[in-house]
């Protein structure tokens, strides 16, 4: 049957539409490589940048980067945008591009901005912003291309350890599954959930009773408080094994301080019962 089904699967669909130009695929790789090198360089001088940055978001100060590197601009304190000039703001968006520049809507508070995360060459633009708009904290990724204004936003979530990790996952700079959190638990060869290398499970239950919104009945689940690499900080994690694959949801250390294991479990149960979850 194997050869038979292999042939049938091979013939079961075509080759699809035309490929994007090869030059574009090469250019995307080349930009990613420059971003990787630029990020490494930025990390090396992060302290200097933090001391020297005086970043205020305003229309006049947001000209696009000329290169393809990420310009990481830490903000000592959140900055409120100055009133944006230009035509009336028609869309319900906190940002827009106008005349080749990023504009921030009046009243928007920008906490952090990553310049040109896609590594676009001018006149294409891109920006990633951690901001508050109408009282809602948002992570925003915007791109200005010849064909229009692309815009993606997410509610800051424990799905990623930081804003930068979210941006990396969206731009393809992070490997699949990389979310910035340290590895706390893993599946061993027998399919059991055990502490990851370098991690210690402080408290654990394999019956967290997180409900059907977390996992279907019969799904292996668990919860634990874990320390990693001798770090004083603890992570509260919950997991489910779906289709033989371990899915771990991590809660940041700041939410674990001062809470007992039972309190953390109760909080998790309430979050899933309310269909909010922990991510």
């Amino acid at each position: 049957m194997d050869t038979d089904i292999r042939d049938r699967l091979e013939r079961s669909f075509g080759d699809g539409p035309a490929h994007p130009p090869l030059e574009e695929q090469l250019a995307a790789g080349s930009r990613a490589l420059r971003r990787r090198r630029g990020t490494a360089a930025a990390a090396a001088c992060a302290v200097v940048v933090a001391l020297g940055a005086s970043y205020a978001v305003a229309t006049s100060g947001s000209s696009p980067g000329t290169g393809s590197q990420i310009a990481h601009e830490p903000t000592p304190s959140p900055s409120s945008a100055a009133p944006a000039s230009g035509p009336t703001w028609e869309d319900d968006t906190p940002i827009r591009y106008l005349d080749g520049e990023l504009q921030i809507r009046a009243g928007v508070v920008v906490h952090e901005r990553l310049r040109n995360p896609f590594g676009n060459a001018p006149p294409k633009l891109s920006d990633a912003l951690d901001l508050t708009y109408q009282g809602q904290r948002m992570w925003v990724l915007a791109e200005r291309k010849a064909t229009g204004f692309g815009y993606t936003s997410a509610v800051p979530s424990n799905g990623w350890a930081s804003f930068a990790d979210w941006v990396a996952s969206q731009t393809g700079d992070a490997a699949p599954g990389e979310d910035g959190w340290p590895e706390t638990v893993r599946l061993d060869a027998g399919g059991q959930v055990v502490a990851a290398r370098g991690a210690d499970i402080v408290q654990r239950t394999d019956h967290p009773r997180l409900g059907a919104n977390f996992a279907a009945p019969g799904t292996p689940t668990g919860a634990a408080v874990v320390t990693v690499g001798g770090d004083d900080r603890s992570f509260f994690v919950v997991w489910r094994v779906v289709d033989g694959q371990l899915d771990v949801i991590t809660t940041p250390p700041r939410d674990v301080v001062g809470a007992s294991f039972d309190e953390l479990l109760n909080h998790a149960r309430l979050q899933y019962a309310a269909e909010e979850g922990l991510r």
Binding site: I5, F13, G14, A28, A32, E90, G148, Y151, D243
Partner: protein
């Protein structure tokens, strides 16, 4: 490795294998737009890692792994609260696609649960061993066997219909 050398090797590989790699992406996700995105993401990562991956001769396996794992990860985020774009914001355009050339078997493949579908694609289309499939999908060999058994069973109906 010089940039010219990297570019030359990368372009040669992409020219030779991109149709096959995008078909793998399409087989696991069932949508040509998403398959394009998956393939582009994987090829971009390949370019960055080219000297190491090319030295080991693992280019195709490297890209394939990223494709199947990336799609797996998309299915693993039930609590991902995210919106892609706003209704009144102009979005980058997509060209119209030609009418799909796909059989009832392919439709049946798409109806399988995601992990079953990936196991069938890797084991029974691409010919990976149980151990290789388990490693690729980061699941146990026992899980590969059970998914493979159930997946093939589900496809038998479509196969018999094609015979009639």
């Amino acid at each position: 490795m010089s940039r010219a050398s990297r570019d030359e090797g990368f372009v040669e590989f992409v020219q030779a294998r991109r149709t096959h790699l995008r078909r793998i992406a399409y087989a696991v996700c069932g949508d040509w737009h998403r398959a394009d995105d998956l393939t582009q993401t994987a090829l971009t990562k390949l370019y960055v890692a080219w000297p190491r991956v090319n030295r080991d001769g693992r280019e195709e396996a490297y890209v394939r792994t990223i494709i199947v794992r990336a799609d797996v990860d998309e299915h693993r985020r039930p609590w991902r609260r995210e919106s892609a774009g706003l209704p009144d914001v102009e979005r980058p355009g997509r060209e119209e696609l030609p009418v799909e050339d796909r059989s009832a078997l392919f439709d049946a493949l798409q109806e399988l649960p995601p992990m079953q579908r990936k196991v069938v694609v890797l084991r029974h289309w691409l010919g990976l061993s149980v151990a290789e499939t388990a490693q690729e999908l980061r699941i146990s060999q026992g899980t590969v066997k059970s998914h493979s058994h159930r997946g093939l069973e589900s496809l038998r109906g479509a196969l018999s219909e094609e015979h009639h």
